[in-house]
């Protein structure tokens, strides 16, 4: 009796696990907002996630099924002795080669996305497509995101100019805190810095995460293809207020318009209403 109970007990949990995973999307336990990523690369990450999920689900059912089977058989074994076997060379070979093939496939299949996500840009980090994509510099500090945009309309031609802009503040720069505007459907380049300790720039909806290392300036590339506001959080422990580094990334059609609006709010002298955003004066912070 108790043997049957324990066999059922160990069979029940894997089934429960699969059921929970199966109903997870319906219960809103899946990816944020239960939606696919808002970047093309993020969608490929999702696909890879589901690919691995499929493979491990098969492996999970296989192993747990085998475990349940041998438990069941072993619990009903009425022989005087167990099966005297020291193993099987053939089986060892099979269950070495098959998993290694699957694992190698998983590993190699991932490389492409990682190469696009980070490696190619890193290898070409002194090359020239970057000036046209630069959107902002984000500096993480305890416990907020400080954002600096180039002056509205400013165009960079060479990487040298970009480096120069990154090195120090420039006249006309637009400053903001905790709210980052990025262009919609356009490749975006953010330079990530840390003002103090280590942080991590994490936008779950975009599947973007990058640590901000003190003393380094790290570039992040992504293309947002869905308009809207996305939560920006810190993913690396940065002190007692780690949890409250709440920010927002908003993808907009016309980035320059937003920058002009921010600029006029920034320049507001308290007398002349700014051109772009007359209605926002009350909430404007100089």
């Amino acid at each position: 009796m108790s043997r049957i109970f324990w066999c059922l007990f160990f069979t029940f949990w894997p089934i429960a696990a699969i059921v929970v995973c199966a109903i997870a999307p319906a219960m809103d336990w899946g990816f944020p907002g239960n939606r696919e990523a808002a970047t093309p690369l993020g969608q490929r990450i999702d696909d890879l996630f589901y690919l691995i999920l499929g493979i491990v689900t098969v492996a999970f059912i296989g192993t747990m099924g085998a475990l349940a089977y041998v438990l069941w058989k072993g619990s009903k074994n009425e022989d005087e002795k167990g099966w005297f076997s020291h193993g099987s060379h053939n089986l060892e070979v099979i269950w070495t080669i098959v998993p290694s093939g699957i694992l190698l496939f998983i590993a190699l299949y991932q490389i492409d996305v990682w190469a696009i996500y980070r490696v190619r840009d890193y290898e070409n980090r002194d090359a020239d497509p970057r000036p046209t994509h630069l959107v902002a510099e984000v500096t993480a500090r305890q416990f907020e995101w400080r954002i600096r945009y180039p002056a509205p309309g400013k165009k960079f031609k060479t990487y040298k100019e970009v480096k120069d802009w990154l090195a120090r503040p420039h006249a006309g720069d637009v400053y903001a805190v905790n709210k980052l505007f990025v262009p919609l459907n356009r490749e975006t380049l953010i330079y990530l810095k840390s003002g103090d300790v280590q942080h991590a720039f994490f936008v779950p909806d975009l599947r973007v995460k990058q640590d901000a290392m003190p003393g380094q300036s790290i570039d992040i590339w992504f293309t947002v293809n869905r308009a809207g506001k996305f939560n920006l959080t810190c993913a690396e422990l940065c002190g007692w207020g780690h949890y409250k580094m709440r920010g927002e990334v908003e993808a907009v059609e016309d980035l320059q318009a937003q920058l002009r609006r921010l600029k006029s709010l920034q320049d507001y002298d308290g007398v002349t209403p700014p051109e772009g955003a007359p209605g926002e004066l009350e909430g404007a912070t100089p």
């Binding site: 005297f84 089986l91 269950w95 991932q110 002190g239």
Partner: protein, 647 residues
């Protein structure tokens, strides 16, 4: 039943058994007896487990009911009316991990079971260096003392990983002052203690095996302890060095290093909390490399011994030889070897050269292979067995099934692109708890029950053991399985209040469910403690071999006297000859048992290598099971072949 080898007249007394009656202090406190040291480690780590668990429940309370007054302990917590403050919360998870890793899992495996089992299982009278062994225990106490001091100063709060600059600059956080210094010093002492242990284990296993105990007749427990000791010896110095570099950077130790003030990890021009800008030119990433170069192998230090012990327990409880002994041993070695070249998978998003991410990804994914081989072999061991469903077996089966979950979820984070998303979310928390708790701790619980008779000469209570197992298993899965979902939903680790982020608001009910399960699991451990303590005094007494097991340790009296064996045992075969057709009427055949009719060549020279002129028929893990001498050996070999083909 007592099969202690008495057929070996050449063996002298293993140890001077009756030379003295040691004083209480010599016997129970400053003991050099490996068994007493093992029990000391076990008691210490079990107490620390309760402390670490209490810290975890504090974390869970905050995540389920943020900013609510904490019941019972609330009065002691923080100044503000019993709430958990955010800085207190960062301390809670830092110290939870620290206590569990450095004071529970590592010392309970290597310290408690390594000490207790290694000499007994290889047939030695004690460790090679008994005094060093005693020191390795007593160096735990400065560590515990300094961790205690860290609590006194408010508790280190930069995570158990202690990434700089949070940990390197005292201004960075309330917990980064003296508390961090104390933490670093304590970790150094843990390292010294482990190092003493590992040197001792390696020497003992290499030099002090009983006659006939060839390397491939060693139980897998010993294999795993051996490999773990090697891992520790090679990885630990890196952490110790990194800890001192950090102390120098911090100019810590009460001004003793004031003149040094290095900048290994501190870049220049950083302003933290309006303190003076740092001078330097260091690199914070360096710490991560050094830290994980130790701490990834440490993950295997926290797992391999449990794998070994579960292999032994499973074979015993299923009355079957271990399936694929040599693949099991080789895959332990493969895990350890690969374990040294995967540390970068903790740093995929850290800003290290991304090309490294590819190599670390491939090596990390490939480490799943030896893990998978081990899992298949455990299932193979159960296959066709005659299973005894006792507490030990249940814990071992739990180990295997939870290890499958923990191993498979590891593939997600080994894959760099997917890891970009799930890194530092609760998915990671779920994964490592499945490995470290679901696997290792269930293995430990099983081992506590399995070797308890050898430690104390009494049995633990089965009914209480099963209740403890049931509650722990249910509570464990209820706690940690949903964390996978939290992680996929994007909930980051180490958040005192995730719900201020709109996309996480709806996860609060799930966190409350998790906390209730964690509470059940935590309370269930009291049953284990009660069972353990009461069985020492009132458990039913047992003989030397209550499980009908094969290992050398079961030929010693329970509990073994000082010096372990009355005569040095001689080993005639591997440890897994269960259900052997060589013996009738019972299903075990001890390693030390000499079968009649004896070989013409009496084992006065038992050191002969396996498979040569010695008792070859009794060396079954060797590749040649057929032996013309007995005439029965061919059948099981054939039977296994056909069964394998049928499947």
């Amino acid at each position: 039943m007592n099969t202690t080898d008495t057929l070996n007249p050449s063996s002298g007394p293993a140890h001077d058994l009756h030379h003295h009656n040691p004083s209480f202090i010599k016997k129970y406190i400053f003991s050099t007896d490996h068994k007493m040291i093992g029990v000391q480690f076990l008691i210490t780590t079990l107490i620390m487990m309760l402390l670490g668990g209490a810290l975890a429940l504090g974390i869970r309370w905050q995540l389920a009911w943020p900013w609510e007054n904490m019941p019972i302990f609330g009065i002691k917590f923080a100044g503000e009316g019993g709430q958990i403050s955010p800085e207190f919360y960062t301390m809670l998870f830092t110290m939870h991990a620290t206590v569990m890793i450095f004071l529970v899992v590592i010392p309970i495996l290597a310290g408690a079971f390594g000490n207790f089992l290694i000499p007994l299982m290889i047939g030695a009278d004690d460790m090679a260096f008994p005094t060093l062994n005693m020191l390795s225990y007593w160096f735990m106490w400065p560590a515990i003392f300094f961790f205690g001091l860290s609590f006194y100063f408010g508790g280190a709060a930069s995570g158990w990983t202690s990434y700089p600059l949070l940990s390197a600059l005292p201004e960075a956080a309330p917990g980064s002052g003296h508390a961090q210094n104390m933490w670093l010093i304590a970790v150094t002492f843990v390292g010294v203690s482990s190092m003493m242990g590992s040197v001792n284990y390696m020497t003992t296993i290499i030099n002090m095996r009983a006659p006939g105990m060839t390397l491939f007749r060693m139980p897998l427990t010993i294999w795993s302890m051996f490999i773990t000791a090697i891992l520790q010896a090679f990885a630990l110095p890196v952490l110790t060095a990194a800890g001192f570099m950090m102390l120098f950077d911090r100019a810590a130790l009460g001004g003793a290093f004031e003149g040094i003030h290095t900048s290994f990890f501190i870049p220049s021009g950083i302003v933290v909390n309006n303190a003076d800008p740092t001078v330097g030119g260091g690199q914070a990433l360096l710490w991560q490399h050094l830290f994980w170069f130790y701490s990834h192998p440490a993950v295997y230090i926290m797992l391999l011994p449990a794998m070994g012990m579960v292999s032994d327990m499973l074979a015993t409880m299923c009355r079957k030889p271990i399936f694929g002994y040599k693949p099991m041993a080789y895959s332990l070695a493969a895990i350890a070897g690969l374990g040294f070249i995967v540390w970068g998978h903790h740093m995929f998003t850290s800003g290290m050269n991304p090309a490294l991410g590819m190599t670390f990804m491939v090596s990390t994914i490939m480490i799943a292979l030896p893990s998978a081989i081990k899992t298949f072999n455990w299932i193979g061991t159960i296959w066709g067995g005659k299973i005894r469903f006792n507490t030990v077996t249940l814990h071992c089966i739990a180990f295997v099934s939870q290890f499958v979950v923990g191993g498979l979820s590891g593939i997600f984070m080994a894959a760099v692109p997917v890891d970009i998303y799930i890194h530092d979310t609760y998915f990671i928390v779920a994964h490592f708890h499945y490995v470290l708790f679901g696997s290792t701790l269930f293995g430990i619980f099983g081992a506590i029950q399995f070797w308890f008779p050898k430690m104390f000469g009494r049995m633990m209570n089965e009914r209480l053991g099963k209740i403890h197992f049931f509650l722990t298993f249910v509570g464990f899965n209820g706690t940690f399985f949903p964390m996978h979902l939290l992680g996929v939903a994007g909930m980051p680790r180490r958040y005192a209040d995730p719900y201020i982020h709109p996309y996480l608001e709806h996860l609060m009910p799930m966190n409350q469910f998790i906390t209730i399960c964690a509470l059940i699991m935590g309370l269930a451990q009291l049953i284990l403690i009660y069972n353990w303590v009461s069985s020492i005094f009132w458990g039913p007494k047992c003989g030397p071999n209550p499980w009908n097991a094969n290992g050398v340790e079961w030929s010693a009296p329970s509990p073994p006297p000082h010096g372990n064996f009355e005569v040095i045992p001689t080993v005639y075969r591997g440890p897994y000859e269960y259900s052997s057709p060589l013996v009738q009427g019972r299903d075990f055949l001890m390693q030390t048992e000499l079968l009649p009719p004896p070989e013409p060549d009496e084992p006065d020279d038992p050191d002969v290598p396996a498979g040569s002129a010695g008792p070859a028929e009794q060396d079954a893990p060797n590749d040649s099971p057929e032996d013309p001498a007995t005439g029965t050996d061919g059948e099981p070999g054939e039977a296994s072949e056909t069964a394998a083909e049928e499947s």
